[in-house]
Symmetry: C2
Subunit: 204 residues, 2 copies
């Protein structure tokens, strides 16, 4: 069965899925949508691919799976990217839920606004939200740094989906002005993840 | 081993964990923290319970698990609340990640701001964010309604953690002015979930 990734390649959320597939050696076919011109909000996209109007969506046959971290879990289910220990498995999910709540809405959103939309095109409300998101993003990096000072990967000694989910936007956070260099354990972890066999770059 | 839930009982995120435990018949001990007075930001809380300064946290022995949906997964792992089918299992996680990204930050945040903090105590930026969060919350309810018009529960015929995760704030959304009655399949699903054996109320 061919897996199809409906995506916008520059999105870290889409990169997570490609990175998971690369580590697993699972081939995926890629279909690109220009989110800047509303290609994921067309009636056809909403009716067949994702009623939520967002990418990424992983398609397996006639079934469609939105939400990047759920798609990573689907690909990796039963593999060494998900811990066998029950607490560690939940702890991996803890980091992945935290990523979507505390990391992505701060770091990925500021990156999208500043790098892709452009500061001058933002609404006043968006502009007013930047300081809060910047503080939230720095706090997220500090929390990761605290964990990564104690363990080589987010869930102890094992490289898991939690590392993939958090690598995606952390390794491009400096594009949005986040001071990643202030978090030495994060910097070392970024290098550790990038050096793993099977790793691919966001623009691969 | 005694499970301890560190919580603020009125929080839907904490209720999710109690509701999961109730369905599983697993006893949990409860410890209450007043989030309104900063009880989850004390040096002791940050050092031992959660460096992220948030509840809920599920404690099992000397291990601490933050993030509500991860704690639900930990409790339910291996039970009928998590589908055995691989795609359905990922689809359950899809709804849970979507809950934390598209539903909770809109519906739960507006409820917290209006019902607990109070409109007059909000910052100007928070006030400016309400219309966007209101629109986002209504869109989330519409997306659920679309799914629930087709299947009795979010992942087909089976009651899963996705239903628990989304019941928590949907059933109190009207407290924050969300027009839940406009979504008949959501209304029917709320009644369906509340009628299940094992169900408990948020103030139980």
């Amino acid at each position: 069965m061919t897996l199809i990734l409906h995506e916008y390649a520059a999105s870290g959320n889409c990169y997570k899925i490609r990175l998971t597939a690369a580590h697993l050696g699972v081939p995926i076919e890629r279909r690109e949508y220009d989110v800047m011109t509303g290609a994921t909000r067309t009636p056809e996209f909403l009716a067949t691919i994702n009623a939520n109007g967002r990418i990424p969506v992983l398609q397996d046959g006639d079934r469609f799976l939105p939400e990047s971290n759920a798609a990573c879990f689907y690909l990796a289910d039963g593999s060494a990217l998900i811990p066998e220990d029950r607490f560690d498995r939940a702890d991996m999910l803890r980091w992945m839920f935290w990523e979507q709540y505390n990391h992505e809405p701060n770091i990925a959103t500021v990156r999208y606004w500043l790098v892709y939309v452009g500061e001058t095109a933002l609404t006043e409300t968006q502009r007013a939200m930047i300081p809060g998101k910047r503080a939230g993003g720095e706090a997220a990096l500090a929390l990761m740094d605290d964990q990564l000072a104690r363990t080589p990967f987010l869930v102890g000694d094992q490289f898991t989906l939690a590392d993939i989910a958090l690598y995606a936007y952390t390794h491009v956070a400096s594009q949005a002005g986040f001071e990643v260099a202030r978090y030495p354990s994060v910097v070392a972890w970024l290098a550790r993840v990038a050096a793993l066999p099977g790793h691919i770059a966001i623009d691969a």
